[in-house]
Symmetry: D2
Subunit: 328 residues, 4 copies
């Protein structure tokens, strides 16, 4: 498996190939979704490290926006938003470990038009919100339904965008907190980083026995920052490989793609998300390559890569990375 | 009771004087403290609206820092910090209501020196932290134990500060979240606003049946911003009067003192806390006085008062207020 | 002179009482106002340290808003806003020194209604702006003209506010920059801190020969944060005493009132303004009292006082202070 | 010239091909460098629109760091940092126009090792600074000198990085301000966006007659955010083509590469830089394609691209863009 051979983390801890058992969580298996990341839920599935699991997720609105309406927010029932499938209990996972979740595939699931985006009052990157609370009148709400198929994302009669799916929200449970699935943080959650896509591995810190893996909120495509706050939301069928790395939990999520190694920080203001992501990366590069922190800091000044995940959630998410070829 | 006659909110909803039943929660009653604000705990006391309750709280370190040591953080067990007494279930409280908690008295409780402050690594307003993540070396840690008695806060041989006690952390449970007691937010929590003091009434939004009132983290004195992150922490005996205002829940905590009416916003960056507090206040003043929002906005430009609660917690807290005499 | 005897800074450097020469800058003397703080202007007056100067200032709109109109911004000619009187050249002032400017009096000047406030599009603390750039529609503009006389600020038929005048904008020239008078920074400028009022002394860093003191933008009253961005703007006659403290320039403006010593920080986000102000204060208290920085940091955690100047200018201004009685 | 044919802006205003006159500014022609962007300097060259100019720039330290020393900041003379060549007066340029500066080539100039980077006290993205003012001890300073030649950037014996040069600082003069060349803003300045590279066109607003184009601060390579604050600084010979677009000045710099159209926002906190850049882009896409702002906002939610320029300067710079193929 080439992904294993390119994985730096994997070389020192991931024990299991994808020959593990195949399991499944359908929407029916799930029953009630979860709207918080926490340890107070009952696992819907237990797996051994190495398992491949097919997970059905719903869209961020739990399917409530079925057609183009003028006031989509009237269809939503805050705080019951961004429904999550799970939690998945990973046997042997303990505080201090990392879950390594490889994303194998993401396929849209459901009748066309399967994709939904919309403008919601007091939500989004270019409007006043509950957090950036102003007196301006709101923008009008608006819904757009979009066909997503093998040819791509059919945005309009004249514009087809590529199908570039990823998992918007994925993470483990905090130890004692239960936090809205609208929020990203050190345990993952609603990061909305488009690189959490097929072919990538996300390493998530384990904070409680079993890890309690949740996921949902798949996007057919999203620009940097998820500007209006609602990407092209789809119900999806996600295939993941779940592995366990004993004793290698980081403070924040680490993301490995074919050619890059990244850390994802989530905070407000946005510079604090950037500082978190880059500090994690500086320390990891220093440890990985045997350089001093000062030298790693200088090196990343030359070749660090930043990707903005979201500028709309309760915390902003930003990934800082380095190309693997510079780690040799 | 003069506090009732001066209470604007009270005139339209607070039904009960302090002749209500007197009840008590001792440390022994409490047993295990809580470290999250959430609905998943079992109430330690049920009260009728109008009850007066004497509540014993522990200090923010649960008494772990008993003497001057070099490395206080080694004595702490994150995330089990800032222990909260409660929750108190208020009969009849439903989502959309407000709890009106009048603070009657706060007395230090325990052997001298009863007050503790300290510098902790990666915590505080003038150092790099986990949120503002930098590569600088840390400041050395440090502990100071302080006698607090009827004469005041005995800071040093030559300096006695006044005893100005308040409740650092008080709030209701979110509807489905369980959030660290280190954090303030729309439901209250670790706001660290010094005006939450004897003589004041704090109005907290009810998000779940019974409201689930928690409190803890009393301070013998604190400057604006709680600069190093640790005020003069004391175990305390707090006497409060709990009332219920049906259907008058605000989005954020409202605080009434003898002469001011305030709202407390909590957010990062700090300007967002200020915007929240002032937007709530503009809208409340407009509704209360029959002015337009624009007129209230202009009036508060002339006479708004701001008090910084904390510049150290996961969200910063700031109160924006107006003198009651300008509301006539 | 009691202000001198209460002045801590003065005890070690201010050489001259207010028996100095009395000089004057009228509007006619000034001719053209300045809209930047910089070294490229020609001084309108030269003074010896110790001079008392009566300075006429215009209001922030240079008198352009004479009546209640629907669209005040159409009367303004950006960037020619916030006109400043000066610069005043202080003989002997060199980089590294401080100017100590005592404010003796501020009187409104001109026909009634002499006070102006307004709501301007894309300007203010609770609306989207050029800095916090959003897509929301704007609030409508609005003007209010207000009589200010010996009885106070006649806000409405039923509400009279106190006359609490202060200088909104005062500072020295940067060494090589020329920065809009709408902005506050390390040299002073548009800080909008209400304590820059009669009875106070502001210590400003000298960055260039002569210091180049500018002032303007007097307010008849203003709440914390100058919420809508426009306080009660008045043309004024200001009497100041200008002194020079050789070799005692601080990094940021220091402000002394009868009972407090403060530093003013200006930055975005607001927490950075607070950090600047408090770091300056920690270091000054440590030096002044012979404590370590850690001890001063702990002391200010207990008794620091914060006043928000503005939450509307290109940088936010915030003062952090300590009561003088705690410095003994 | 393919760059012209791919230029959207050019199709409606850029009048002149690169057959214009070739002119030159050598270091000797320049004489004294400039350290502010402002209208108070004397132009070093006048050009007609369409001119090709070869400009020699110095490195950000004006060559003061010639070898590896322990305390590079002792060699620097603040505020005389980031020396700029220019200003160039563009005939016919008036407020409201745009300068279109195409970057043809950037070559290192001077003896090897020609590249310099360093860690400076209180400067950089992962340390406390004068703006984010903390009490932590500083990181040690450090210098690295690097050979840059046709093979690339010789970072170490085992690591050669690509030569990816760009102009760190380029812009026009504000109308009445003169602002440090360390700062970026609406007129350009120290943006440090790596796409300001050979093959790109940057459109800069003209604020004053002649535009007053300044440039300097070339980098041989830089990662996203310019993490430690000092990229690989080189003295350079830059060839640019300067054109004038009458009446098409934007509020903020626009940047066109072969396949993308971007806007660059500069502000603190970082989300405000992102909001500025994206709001400019939303409005430009709407105008360009005939969509409503709401539709452009939704489209950019799907396919907007963000590049972080700097997270270290007095304002952070961030570019938001869209691929040109989505504009058809």
């Amino acid at each position: 498996m080439s992904w294993l051979s390119t994985s730096i983390m994997a070389q020192r801890g991931v024990a299991h190939g994808i020959e593990g058992a195949h399991q499944k969580i359908t929407i029916e298996d799930q029953g009630t979704f979860h709207y918080v990341y926490g340890p107070y839920a009952t696992p819907v599935l237990e797996v051994e490290p190495g398992a491949v699991v097919t997970v059905e997720t719903h869209d961020a609105f739990e399917g409530a926006i079925t057609e183009v309406v003028d006031n989509p927010s009237s269809l939503l029932n805050f705080p019951f938003l961004n429904p999550q499938t799970g939690p998945i209990y990973v046997k042997g996972a303990e505080k201090g470990d990392a879950l390594a979740v490889r994303i194998i595939s993401i396929r849209p699931r459901g009748p066309q038009p399967v994709g939904t985006t919309c403008l919601l009052t007091e939500f989004g990157g270019l409007v006043a919100t509950g957090d950036t609370a102003l007196l301006n009148p709101p923008l009008p709400e608006k819904v757009k339904k979009v066909v997503v198929d093998e040819d791509g994302v059919h945005w309009s009669d004249t514009l087809t965008l590529p199908y570039e799916p990823f998992i918007g929200t994925i993470g483990t449970a905090p130890q004692i907190e239960a936090i809205s699935s609208l929020q990203p943080d050190y345990y993952g959650g609603n990061m909305d980083v488009p690189d959490v896509a097929p072919g990538s591995i996300i390493y998530l810190p384990v904070n409680t026995d079993g890890g309690y893996l949740y996921l949902g909120d798949c996007h057919a495509i999203q620009g940097d920052g998820e500007l209006c706050g609602v990407a092209l939301e789809i119900p999806a069928t996600v295939e993941i490989h779940i592995d366990l790395i004993k004793g290698h939990g980081n403070g924040w999520p680490q993301l490995e793609t074919e050619d890059k190694m990244m850390f994802i920080g989530s905070a407000r203001p946005m510079e604090d998300a950037a500082r978190i992501a880059y500090r994690e990366l500086v320390r990891w590069v220093a440890a990985e390559t045997g350089q001093s922190e000062s030298d790693a800091y200088m090196l990343l000044t030359m070749c660090g890569k930043v990707r903005l995940g979201n500028m709309v959630d309760p915390k902003y998410s930003l990934a800082a990375g380095i190309e693997k070829k510079y780690l040799k």
